[in-house]
């Protein structure tokens, strides 16, 4: 469960990137975090991750305050960044074991876990190669594997489907559904409304630093005439905010 209470972020003492933002990401559900460019999505995710400190408000991750008890809170998260070009000179397997050590994954059963994830993502034959030799999609897959090794209760993904081939995208979506179905939390940001529509149980829409809507897409559709596309609804919501 992720809980934001009256969170704001002010840059350089004047520019308010996120303003009095409160929302609740429930367990057992996939929540999409949507907003136009510059709306405050990345800033909010960075605050949830502990990369940025909120100027005001409180962020709780499964009840742990990210500011007061950062290490315990971070252990609960599996994070997939939008930029998979990290640790390029490490071999895939070295990277996964590095992540496993960082997140205290026991040595026992670790190799089997990596093997089964690699098979699922069709990465078995690539684990011995450096990440530098991977395609964009493979880099994205290895980052997803690294984020899930420690069975996080909260899975946060920033634009996760970019660059994935249809099969890997399908697998990732299935994994997100399984994660939520097992009672854990999934929060992901996206620009692709169709993905949000198909995948999300709930959406949080942010615009100009304010949360302009949170709830199901069905509930949002009820406020608009039948036949209105999701794109039109999104534009209307963000324009009138």
């Amino acid at each position: 469960m992720i809980q934001l209470e009256h969170v704001s972020k002010v840059y350089s003492g004047t520019h308010k990137a996120v303003d009095d933002c409160s929302f609740f990401v429930e367990d057992g559900k996939i929540t999409g975090f949507i907003g136009p460019n510059g709306a405050g999505k990345t800033t909010t995710i960075k605050m949830i991750m502990g990369i940025l400190e909120a100027s005001e408000g409180k962020i709780l991750l499964d009840g742990e305050d990210i500011r007061r008890n950062a290490i315990e809170a971070k252990k609960k998260i599996g994070f997939v960044s939008d930029n998979p070009d990290s640790f390029l000179r490490l071999k895939g397997l070295e990277y996964l074991n590095f992540m496993a050590d960082i997140y205290d994954v026991p040595g026992e059963g670790r190799a089997e876990k990596i093997r089964s994830m690699a098979e699922r993502f069709e990465m078995t034959d690539a684990l011995g190669d450096r990440i530098l030799s991977y395609s964009h999609g493979m880099r994205q897959k290895i980052m997803v594997m690294g984020a899930l090794l420690h069975d996080p209760s909260l899975w946060i993904l920033d634009e996760p489907l970019t660059g994935l081939d249809p099969r890997a995208a399908f697998e990732l979506k299935e994994m997100m559904k399984e994660h939520a179905a097992s009672g854990r939390t999934v929060l992901f940001s996206t620009h692709v409304l169709e993905v949000a529509e198909k995948l999300c149980d709930k959406v949080v829409i942010i615009n100009r630093g304010h949360i302009v809507y949170q709830g199901t897409l069905e509930r949002l559709r009820e406020d608009y005439p039948e036949g209105t596309s999701l794109e039109e609804i999104f534009l209307a919501v963000t324009e009138h905010a």
Partner: protein
């Protein structure tokens, strides 16, 4: 030509290897300006020394009417300096920067890309060659009471001189990359070729090593046809025209030098047209074996390690496997003995009448003086070689845009910083303490150096490394370069590294002088004094280590 100019302008704006990066105007920052000013002030004393050297050399040589030789030697030394610095730079700029793939699909000819990259590298080379040559020429000119003609031609020489050495570096790098195009591990080939070229350049500079004292020079001149002249004419055949031009105000000689330089550039461009794309294509790719990992390897890698140990391993792997990081941050720490041994070997080879056995007999380490000197040399090496260890000095800058990762993972910042510091100290210890201990153990066996010196040397050397690395980490934490497009920019175009090096130099020299002076002043028995020095160094190392971690944790939390 228009495209070449466009590319050059774009590369100049974004720095070496930053093509395609942000074009945003940089904001004026007081901190940056003060940092540059501070660096300039730090470098002033050496400018003064070079200025005096130019004047003194002129006065000495003018007595025998050979003042032109001062210019020849200065030009030769500057050319060798450009060779030494130029090869690692050109091989990185031509083949290892991230912009290559973005440039190769543009409708431009290979020479236009290479030409633009060469021009930018030349501009960066001017920074060092001007710093070295300008005060020497100024000292020479002032001592000679030179007229306006000299100054104009000297300025022309400053601009023309580094071109031919860089052409050599450029051609060599293109040939190597073309020959080893199909090599499986190009990173390894790159590093090895840079090491070999550095050894070659140092050997050249050692062959041309001259004592600037008048007597030796005069003797050398009287011999006629000496090795230096032969070497200079052999490698840089056009240098004598430049010397004639500046020393005698001979415009024709300058035009001749200009023409020869132009020929070199044309040859370089022609070679670039044929070789560059062939070597650069697929340079950024590494061969993927796609070989299934064995169960044994998987089990070995899957053994659980502490978070700090995992961070340490990751740091070491990334440093050793990234050629730019390895060449700029690590390599020199290990290579410094070569740069001492090569000149010594060449001198011994040149003076065949010197017997190594006789030389070794002169070294007596049994007396207190010899032992004290040995320990002092170990300390100086450990403090001095720290200046070439840029692992801690770039520890934060190397993270670049991925710095967020340090904040995301559930590992206390102090643990992560400790891993970074430990990595730097490990490389430093391997490059200094290890060498020194091998030398000392050999000295104990061969020359009777007391055994009790070994633990003192070990502790002193390790502490000296911790002190130097902690200082560099402090500086990088204070002013890291986090916004970069290529690894080259993170470590080479990072003035903070120079600041860290200068601080290391100041602290190293200060500590060395203090230890030396106190030995005479306190007149304590050597083992007692060595013990006190080790304790003081250990206390300083511990204090700096604790402060660096505490400051770092707070500082990184503040980065947004």
């Amino acid at each position: 030509m228009r495209k070449y100019l466009l590319l050059t302008r774009k590369l100049f704006k974004s720095g070496l290897g930053g093509f395609g990066g942000s074009n945003k105007k940089k904001k004026f920052r007081m901190g940056n300006t003060l940092l540059m000013l501070f660096l300039f002030v730090c470098l002033l004393p050496l400018l003064g020394v070079l200025f005096r050297l130019g004047g003194d050399a002129y006065r000495t040589m003018a007595v025998i009417g050979q003042e032109g030789l001062v210019l020849s030697m200065a030009f030769f030394a500057s050319s060798v300096l450009s060779l030494i610095l130029g090869f690692p730079m050109l091989i990185s700029v031509f083949y290892l920067t991230g912009d290559i793939e973005r440039l190769m699909y543009l409708p431009v000819r290979p020479w236009q890309i290479v030409g633009a990259k060469f021009t930018i590298s030349l501009i960066f080379t001017y920074l060092t060659s001007f710093y070295f040559l300008l005060p020497l020429l100024a000292g020479y000119g002032v001592a000679a009471g030179a007229g306006i003609g000299f100054w104009i031609l000297a300025v022309a020489a400053l601009f023309l001189l580094p071109v031919i050495p860089l052409v050599y570096c450029g051609i060599l790098s293109m040939v190597i990359m073309r020959v080893f195009k199909r090599a499986k591990n190009k990173d390894f080939i790159t590093v090895v070729s840079v090491i070999l070229s550095l050894c070659l350049a140092f050997a050249l500079s050692s062959l041309g090593n001259l004592n600037l004292e008048g007597g030796a020079l005069q003797e050398l001149l009287l011999k006629g046809g000496n090795s230096l002249m032969g070497l200079m004419n052999g490698i840089f055949p056009a240098l004598r025209f430049l010397e004639e031009a500046v020393a005698e105000g001979n415009l024709l000689s300058l035009l001749l030098f200009l023409a020869i330089t132009a020929v070199f550039v044309v040859v370089f461009i022609l070679i670039a047209e044929r070789l560059y794309f062939a070597g650069a294509m697929g340079m950024r790719e590494t061969k993927a074996g796609r070989k299934r990992i064995t169960a044994e390897e998987s089990r070995r890698l899957s053994r659980r390690k502490s978070a700090g140990g995992a961070c340490f391993r990751k740091e070491v792997r990334l440093l050793v496997r990234s050629p730019i990081y390895f060449m700029n941050c690590v390599m020199l720490v290990f290579l410094w003995p070569l740069f001492i041994l090569i000149p010594v070997a060449i001198q011994i080879f040149q003076n065949r009448d010197v017997s190594i056995g006789e030389l070794l007999k002169l070294v007596s380490m049994e007396g207190t003086g010899g032992t004290a000197l040995t320990l002092f040399v170990v300390l100086c090496i450990s403090l001095g070689a720290g200046m070439f260890n840029y692992v801690a000095g770039t520890a934060i800058s190397r993270e670049g845009k991925n710095l967020y990762f340090m904040k995301v993972i559930p590992v206390p910042m102090k643990v992560q910083l400790r891993a970074k510091l430990l990595t730097a100290v490990s490389f430093g210890v391997a490059g200094t303490t290890l060498y020194c201990m091998i030398f000392l153990v050999a000295s104990v066996i061969l020359f009777g150096l007391p055994v009790w010196t070994l633990p003192f040397a070990l502790v002193g050397s390790v502490c000296a490394n911790v002190i130097q690395c902690a200082i560099q980490l402090f500086v990088d934490l204070f002013h890291p370069k986090l916004s970069w497009e290529s690894e080259q920019q993170a470590v080479k175009q990072n003035f903070t590294v120079i600041l860290g090096m200068l601080l290391d130099l100041a602290v190293g020299a200060g500590l060395g002088i203090l230890v030396f002076l106190l030995y005479d002043l306190l007149a304590l028995p050597l083992p007692v004094y060595a013990g006190i020095v080790c304790l003081a160094l250990a206390a300083a190392a511990l204090l700096l280590y604790k402060l660096a971690l505490a400051y770092g944790a707070k500082r990184i939390a503040d980065y947004e």
